[in-house]
Subunit: 491 residues, 2 copies
Amino acid sequence: MAKDFSTRAENYSQWYNDLVIKADLAENSAVRGCMVIKPYGYAIWEKIQATLDQMFKATGHSNAYFPIFIPKSFFSREASHVEGFAKECAVVTHYRLKASPDGKGVVVDEDAKLEEELIVRPTSETIIWDTYKNWIKSYRDLPILINQWANVVRWEMRTRLFLRTTEFLWQEGHTAHATNEEAVKESETMLDVYAKFAEEWMAVPVLQGTKTASERFAGAIDTYAVEALMQDGKALQAGTSHFLGQNFAKAFDVKFLTRENQLEYVWSTSWGVSTRLIGALIMAHSDDNGLVLPPKLAPIQVVIVPVFKNQEQLDLIREHVIPMKKTIEDKGITVKFDDRDTHKPGWKFAEYEFKGVPVRITIGPRDIEQGTVEVARRDTLEKEVFQMIDIGNKISHLLVQIQQNLFQKALNFRENNTFRVDTWNEFKNVLENKGGFIYAHWDGTSETEDKIKEETKATIRVIPLNNPRENGKCVYSGRPSTQRVVFARAY
Amino acid sequence: MAKDFSTRAENYSQWYNDLVIKADLAENSAVRGCMVIKPYGYAIWEKIQATLDQMFKATGHSNAYFPIFIPKSFFSREASHVEGFAKECAVVTHYRLKASPDGKGVVVDEDAKLEEELIVRPTSETIIWDTYKNWIKSYRDLPILINQWANVVRWEMRTRLFLRTTEFLWQEGHTAHATNEEAVKESETMLDVYAKFAEEWMAVPVLQGTKTASERFAGAIDTYAVEALMQDGKALQAGTSHFLGQNFAKAFDVKFLTRENQLEYVWSTSWGVSTRLIGALIMAHSDDNGLVLPPKLAPIQVVIVPVFKNQEQLDLIREHVIPMKKTIEDKGITVKFDDRDTHKPGWKFAEYEFKGVPVRITIGPRDIEQGTVEVARRDTLEKEVFQMIDIGNKISHLLVQIQQNLFQKALNFRENNTFRVDTWNEFKNVLENKGGFIYAHWDGTSETEDKIKEETKATIRVIPLNNPRENGKCVYSGRPSTQRVVFARAY
């Protein structure tokens, strides 16, 4: 595997792009802004999906599927939603092609123009609330707790693999409740799920909080988010959960009969994470030697590489590896035995290191004599000799250690790159020279927020949950403030 | 659960529609021809997906994801493919909406017209072969064995829930090979997978064979299919696997360097099944009392309904049910305990019968005294009293029996509705009065096939694999024939 790619220090952005391409995760397609997710990248997504799906079901949700197309008029029903979403989108206007009159290829058949244009969903609140309208008559029909795994399209002008693509894969939860409190609780529960997933599976520590009015989801009363810090000091939003109040119920006229026999609008939430998480995963842990994957989401957790000079040696090694592989797999671990004789061990070492396989086991004839194997961990690049005895448990523990180490390393990085700042000069200075999360006082106005963004490109990532009250002065305007909020430049 | 729906004898088509809607499987959406798959229907799809996905992986395939949009010009590359697919499709022509000048809602922004229109994929051969072109240089890059789970859109004029919808969910396998033989073998392997899945999981016996030229996939050299017989005597194609020869490699100029250092076009296959399988499942087994689901694909396999007069009795029952439920679940069985006090047992019996839950366990205070439960099976509607002892194994065996019985019943039905026919009058007579599969001689011409279709609506479903040679005369033209083929009217 070639190492001809940029280091983080040289060019972080290029390093990321090179990694994604050279580690066979994804590539750009013939369609502007749309990516091809290659098998190795998709295998990570499958692990993300499987884990989250289980967490959603454990919190009472079921999956369902709603149409990919949304009638154009649906977007206009919720005023701020149309602002946020109906602008940059893929519009279906016709439903037929015909042979071109010049005999070359096909052209749009103008006779097959749709009466109303259809939008390829950028998010599904509108089509789903149009559907829920028929499902909800009384409090007995509530709550509705549904999730959808789907593709969505947002016509992005500047795209980057995983981080921002025109089409992406995601899940979107859409729930309906009888009370304000229950809906708020649901948004918070799902934020918790996202935080737990980020920290325990992705090994990425996250800040939890709410968004300011200008960063809110189009149509939400409150947007909760989890925010992670990347190695270049920029923030990345890793999941959002929206309390939508009665906005969509009002837009689609969805009322229910309460226990007290009153007609009321339904309360709702929506929440989602996307293939963007793969981008976060890469940026948070990987290094100048290539990908580093947390064991819990690595498609291959352990690779076994035999070192041999001839077929006889390989046969001998195979005899020992087959039961060892089985012992490790019995611990629920994914193991690959790469016994190809077309590639040298050194080539394989570089390949699996580059692809972020958490543990590599090397075994040669001498190891077999001595009843040992050499174990290399990807996170620290350390090697150690293990006795073969009890190898299943040892590898299992090692994977747990690697998972914890990655989290701890990311947490240390975040702590070392989190700053409390009290003056505007310091604010600009930290942003310019260090990056990271900046806790600073803000006067609470969108005006100040906009100016800070204009001058520094920094935005308020979150107002942290359970934020301690503290009197201070806005770092920009000097006006009084009662709490610090978290600023950063962001992806 | 209301039973106010048509019987199969009264109106088979209406019976099917009623079932789908009233069993909460799916419904029509606000978008013409697109369905909403409701949680209960989607749970069946999840089981289908999980099972097939495992089978694909066991045969060496990986998942990946390709763009939903296909540039219009791609379709024109393969001559017969454009004929088959580019006609009725959703065409994206613009990428932006703007506020309407009249202030009401949004309109298409004519300044945001795409240079080349994008087609929402009806199938992905073209975009995938455009991608494979960059992945394949030499025989070392082959085979490529990839599957994609995705949504696709075909602009259907007449739609029916699950059976034919504008948007549907499916999987599409796309493989690339170094030799003709290997690609043919792959198509046959995947046909086997589909046949095995249909028979062992769906409990639906299928005929395996190849399609005639006029029924082939647009762009294929050979289309293999599995065909099932529905209760109204109509056939339903339950999966297809295509040997594409070098057609797409030629269209997208994908060559590889052979071991002998020659440049050759790559050989390929594609294969798919869709949410249509849910339609097949319903039509094959269900009855006038509602859904009948094969245990292996039922979202709920066992429901436990308590019969009680007061809270005290319910508490007592609960005490016994909780460990029993656990014992059954430990066998890998999905169990629901419906202890709601808002509905009477009779209502619940009807509900779960209608929704096709394979086994119902009823338990009341007297059962507890006697250490028994009442067990009802959905397939035969029989009830039996079981001793609680060893209940896990008993229920597990019962589910196996039900699965086998459903398959046997469907097989008997097919055998009773399969006819060997030698004259044209008999052919029309059987079709009109009995339906089913008709084995008849055919002269091998598309002309005869077309005429038969025109006069009777029957098509050749398959030329069976390993078809015995037999001299005879074409049932329509009287011309000589060497084998019988299978005719039926079809969905």
